[in-house]
């Protein structure tokens, strides 16, 4: 009896297995199904170490970027080896070594925490190029085969701030704000940040300056969640900020926690709106979401893959913005203020042709004074008074992402309060 059941099961599996052999591969997750059949122009292999998978917005953007680069450079799926959900520990080093052993000539990792392990691998395999996206140690490490790359996302954050500023202006003019939304004559803005370091500081400052570009009388509170992805904590932070009267909730964290919370409050009649990050938030906040600041990673991956195929060296520090299409804001929501679209276009073209500097030294003060000098810590010792540390302010503005690709603007300017900073 037992045996008969077993053999029946076996037969069933064999049949299914036979169907499986037909080679009906699953649909590619990113809609590039036709690329499976394409002939490739190269035998070279490229490795991708990803902190998440396609279900997580930040990593999804990187997958999309590399897939686009793959198609545009005439490669096919055999050229790229993917490692999903790689934690930020020695597993990253192991993944990198495994990719080298599979013949990869270049390996990218997409999370900051992968960096030290990528650096270790780079030191061991000098013939393979390693890129730690969003990292900041490439130049310091002195390794010729180790690079960093980051977009000038502060530009798109500034533009998303412009969108928010337009909304604030509209709300004030329509008399929709009450005393709880004001701090004196200033409108309260909220911001959900991940960690208190330069990347986040640079981001919220650009966002704040973008709002002030349209409506100068604002003040901003920043709450940290101490995590890049924590739906609950981000929602809680947004709720706390809204309870405090904040009208706009910006974010530098990867989940949909904040926009969802803002939409809830918006549904209850509160005048609150959300500006997201990485992905279009309209699906979770159809009315509250104004727009999101995003990176267009394909611009970088395209250039890098081209360099790899030509046998060249990937630049040690890469950072580009609107001028090269490497950053953008997502589709404007239905509730943005009138004229936002035109204003956005105007600001983007001003950024492109260099008329508008996001960190214009004349647009912010520290302790009531304008800065005419600021040294950026270049050797990673948290002091900015060493001979290696460089001056970042000249020609009247702070040169963000020019001395190295990762953001270095860590100045706490007037008008912004960090609430849970350590």
């Amino acid at each position: 009896m037992k045996k008969r059941i077993l053999s029946a099961l076996m037969a069933a599996v064999m049949c299914l297995a036979a169907v499986g052999c037909g080679g009906n591969k699953p649909e590619g997750q990113t809609g590039e199904t036709e690329s499976v059949q394409r002939e490739s122009v190269s035998e070279k292999k490229i490795g991708m170490i990803l902190v998440g998978d396609e279900n997580e917005g930040y990593t999804y953007a990187h997958i999309e970027g590399m897939r686009t680069a793959e198609v545009q450079n005439g490669l096919n799926d055999d050229n790229i080896i993917w490692k999903y959900s790689v934690p930020e520990d020695e597993s990253c080093k192991e993944a990198a070594v495994d990719l080298v052993e599979q013949g990869c000539v270049a390996i990218f990792s997409n999370s900051y925490g992968h960096q030290t392990f990528m650096e270790e691998a780079a030191a061991e395999y000098p013939d393979v190029q390693f890129v730690s996206m969003t990292g900041d140690r490439a130049a310091l490490s002195g390794l010729p085969n180790f690079s960093n790359a980051f977009t000038n996302v502060y530009e798109s954050r500034f533009v998303s701030g412009v969108v928010a500023g337009m909304k604030v202006k509209e709300l004030v003019e329509a008399g929709k704000l009450s005393a709880e939304n004001m701090d004196g004559n200033k409108v309260k803005i909220g911001y959900v940040g991940a960690y208190p370091y330069a990347e986040v500081v640079s981001g919220y400052t650009a966002f704040f300056l973008g709002i002030q570009y349209i409506y100068p009388d604002v003040t901003m509170e920043v709450r940290y969640t101490n995590s890049w992805f924590d739906i609950t904590a981000e929602a809680e932070a947004a709720n706390a900020l809204m309870a405090d009267g904040c009208v706009i909730i910006g974010q530098h964290a990867d989940s949909t926690g904040a926009p969802t919370a803002v939409q809830d409050a918006n549904d209850k009649g509160k005048p609150v709106y959300s500006v997201g990050y990485n992905v279009d938030m309209l699906s979770v906040a159809p009315h509250a979401a104004l727009t999101s600041a995003t990176n267009v990673w394909s611009v970088y991956y395209n250039e890098a893959v081209k360099t790899i195929l030509e046998g060249g060296k990937i630049p040690t520090d890469w950072s580009k913005g609107y001028a090269d299409g490497a950053v953008a804001i997502t589709k404007l929501g239905p509730d943005v203020a009138e004229g936002t679209s035109d204003k956005v276009d105007e600001v983007i073209s001003a950024i492109k042709n260099g008329e508008l500097k996001v960190f214009d030294a004349g647009s912010f003060t520290v302790g009531g004074k304008h800065l005419d000098s600021y040294h950026v810590d270049m050797n990673g010792n948290f002091s900015n008074e060493d001979p290696e540390d460089k001056e970042a302010i000249w020609d009247g503005y702070f040169h963000e992402s020019e001395l190295r690709s990762a953001p270095s603007f860590d100045i706490r300017i007037d008008g912004i309060t960090e609430l849970t900073a350590e």
Partner: protein, 360 residues
């Protein structure tokens, strides 16, 4: 006469051969069911998937060592948990004991890099064991003195350890604000296990083998081991036999915590060279399954750890090669574990269908 259709009868004596046979059937059935699930969901040939898993876990030297590393971590913790669980002291706190051991090791690497590797290793080894022991001692003391519930106490100690780790990560973070400690002593490799036979995990391997042999002898052939067994079966019997339950509980839990602390040392010095709240990574809980399944037998614990490590590394390779989501491979792991755990039922009990059952 009312006869139940199905009766479950405790199966006292089953031959070793039959036990092995039942387990083998369970594994085969698990693989078959996984095959059906994989085919239905994805359209992939299950054989391809299993081959990919094997390649992922053992395909190259690097991968094999990586799988072995995972196996060693799990075995080490399971060996640590075994004496406590055998005594029916539910030590759910391995996670925390690993973390405090890890913190102490990382601290030694950061502050004492100058004293040289030999001294550093001895210090890290001893201090991490001490830290783990202290972490386990508190719940043991309260259990022995006030009969508090050790399950809750050890579990809560995990959260304290996680917070403590966050504190030290913030203290040692590099660069500031990044919330990671980064690789410690990246240039000088002070406090890193040296490479032997081409792998830095070789020392961990020896460590775990020694621990396994020690634990086997300790539980099976020593007076302490016997006392643990008696206290586990019945505290009253132990008291009647003149065993000091308090002493045995505290002594055993100290040992359990110390070994878990050493696992933290192994994770930091032998593998990651950094510390974070995910250093233990849930292994403290997974190891409980390992210890139970193996019925606290050292060799079996190593085998089961190997199976789990194989499934883990294999599944990430499926994700990479077949573009299957990570979760799809976790389903496979779930099915296999379900069958293996289920097979224990058929080893301990037998089913009697309908009238064939003999009357009592």
């Amino acid at each position: 006469m009312n006869e139940p259709l199905l009766r479950i009868v405790k199966n006292e004596a089953m031959s070793f051969k039959k036990k092995v046979l039942i387990r083998a059937v369970a594994v085969i059935l698990a693989l078959l069911v996984c095959g059906i699930v994989i085919t239905l969901i994805t359209g992939y040939n299950p054989v391809t998937v299993y081959v990919t898993m094997t390649q992922g876990a053992f395909g190259t030297k690097t991968r094999a060592w990586s799988t072995v590393k995972e196996m060693l971590m799990l075995s080490c913790i399971a060996i640590g948990l075994a004496p406590a669980f055998k005594m029916k002291f539910w030590n759910i706190g391995a996670e925390g004991q690993i973390l405090v051991g890890g913190i102490v090791s990382a601290g030694c690497m950061i502050y004492l890099a100058k004293i040289g590797n030999a001294g550093l290793f001895i210090l890290m080894f001893l201090l991490s064991a001490l830290a783990g022991a202290v972490w386990a001692f508190l719940p043991a003391l309260f259990k022995a003195k006030f009969n508090t519930n050790e399950t809750l106490f050890t579990l809560m100690m995990n959260y304290v350890a996680i917070q403590l780790t966050s504190y030290f990560v913030a203290k040692w973070e590099n660069p500031i604000g990044s919330n990671t400690v980064g690789v410690i002593n990246q240039s000088g490799h002070e406090g890193w296990f040296p490479k032997i036979c081409g792998s830095q995990y070789f020392i961990s391997l020896i460590m775990v083998l020694v621990l396994a042999v020690f634990m086997h002898i300790y539980l099976k052939y020593t007076k302490h081991g016997y006392e643990i067994a008696v206290v586990g079966e019945s505290e009253n019997t132990a008291r009647y036999a003149g065993i000091s339950v308090t002493k045995v509980v505290i002594r055993t839990v100290l040992l359990s915590g110390a070994i878990c602390g050493m696992a933290g040392f192994m994770a930091v010095a032998g593998a990651s060279h950094t510390i974070s709240t995910s250093t233990a990574g849930g292994r403290g809980f997974t190891a409980i399954i390992v210890a139970w399944l193996a019925k606290f037998d050292s060799a079996t614990m190593i085998l089961i750890s190997l199976l789990l490590a194989f499934l883990e590394s294999g599944s990430s390779e499926i994700a990479s090669k077949c573009h299957l989501n990570d979760f799809a491979s976790k389903i496979v792991i779930g099915i296999i574990l379900f069958f293996i755990l289920g097979s224990e039922f058929f080893i301990n009990y037998k089913l009697i269908v309908g009238k064939k059952g003999e009357k009592k």
